[in-house]
Amino acid sequence: MKKDLPKIDEHNFPIIFKHLTYFIKDEVLKTGVNRVVLGLSGGVDSAAACYLASGALGKDNVTALLMPYKSSSKSSLEDALKVVEALGISHYIIDITKQVDGYFQAEKDGTPVNDIKIRMGNKMSRERMSILYDYSYKLKSLVLGTSNKSELLLGYGTIYGDMASALNPIGDIYKTQIYQLAKLLGIPDSIMAKPPSADLWLGQSDESELGFTYEAADSIMYLLIDKMYKPEVVVSLGYDAGIVNAVYNKIKKSQYKRRMPLIAKVSERTINIDFRYLRDWS
């Protein structure tokens, strides 16, 4: 029995592309709008989502927002612009330095450096979300999510920040597979070549923060989640017990980020508990 995370290759790519573009088209059009807006970071995830959106809705119906902070890497903006150019989509560059710095002017005193880094990272992420949702209204566009399955499962994202969107075409695709998908989508090499980073501060690296590589985590999460194997079974198959447990704990601890807020049940029929309809119900 094959137990490796399956690769997106030239054989399965056409149907995956057809599926993901149909998803975007069908789920966007049924809401009564025909456009999406997304944050383009210069990384591989948002680039892949952008290529899919353009393939689904046409280049005239996709808008990218590039939202650098003063410490964002120059190459991020350049890479994002490469995507904009390659697809011929419209874009806006909105610097978020002023509002983030303005807020933290009054907050910084006495906070340990490490905490302020995380708080500022979260703030930047939510600032971008807030701008995306403003542009959602302004451009009559749905916000397209760009979080991959790996970061959603590991909780490596900001709740109500980069994790917020109306719909997400790549949220069931692991980071390792995103690279395979991106290559087949024809995404520029410079985007593929750099190490994964949230780029919230200088030199930030996903993999050093997580303590393991995406490749290691993805092959484990494929067994834990997709195959529903217990952690001890995954370890028995030869995977590093330390990483398996670290991954499993991260998944459990971040469950709250993937759910709607809890509502205290008082009435006989409560939103999302026993008032059950599809979002597509409307």
Binding site: P6, N12, P14, K18, F23, L167, Y277, L278, D280, W281
Partner: protein, 289 residues
Amino acid sequence: MHAINVLLAQINPYVGDLKKNIEKHLEFIKAAPAAGAEFVIFPELSLTGYFLKDAIYDIGVNLNSEEEASVFEPLYKASLDLGISVIAGFVEKDENYNFYNSSFCISKGKIINVHRKVYLPTYGMFEELRYFKPGGGFSIFDMAGVKASILTCEDAWHLSSSYIAVNKGAEIIVVNSASPARGITEGLDKFSSINMWEELLSVIAFYYRSYVIYVNRVGFEDGIGFSGGSCIFGPTGEMDARLGYLEEGYLKVEINLDLLNNERFKTPLIRDENLNLTLKEIEGIINSK
């Protein structure tokens, strides 16, 4: 040549909107005569959408209530006027307010058969048993002079369903479905779920020496996409024709009874089936439990 022509109608239904879906059905039914078909088959819950959840309460139709059943009047009329028979899926409600995942066959303006889905998947992403009552069996009906039986999606996953249908006399097994696309396989140009379905349908067609018509829907409901790929397998177990995956469309297919009879003569598996032995064994299994 003894043959009938069937149109596979691979649609993307509007979730929870009976009226709009009836209109969509009429478009496809009206296309049938020009395509040379006398029969049109739609997917599971084609008139309502699939993941209805609490909306099932609002969309159920009691066929014994003249007032409620009249909602399907445009379909009865089209069937009569155009001489086209139709199989479509809907939410059925009975007098006791039980709901069923049902499919009807309309011929010459009248409902001639209703199949209530027997095996209601309630695991993984599925929750049918939460809302629906299971049907009580598999019936045979006349499909333009040929004996047919409907198996709705999960019904086909239980090989006993096709066993019963064929031994009751079915020559055509209609599998109407709302099967979500899922599973990536390296080196394979389709979803794993599609591959599994095609293997299953081939086995049913080959070992029961029958035509198997698979009509699966397309479109998305809250992120879940249905795979389409409606197709027909002949009694040799080979796929004769198939619609594209993940796109609306229709396809006319031919069912050739001469070929079916030829295969059944050469490999008389159904003739040789020992029903008494099966009965004895099943009684033994039930008694031992």
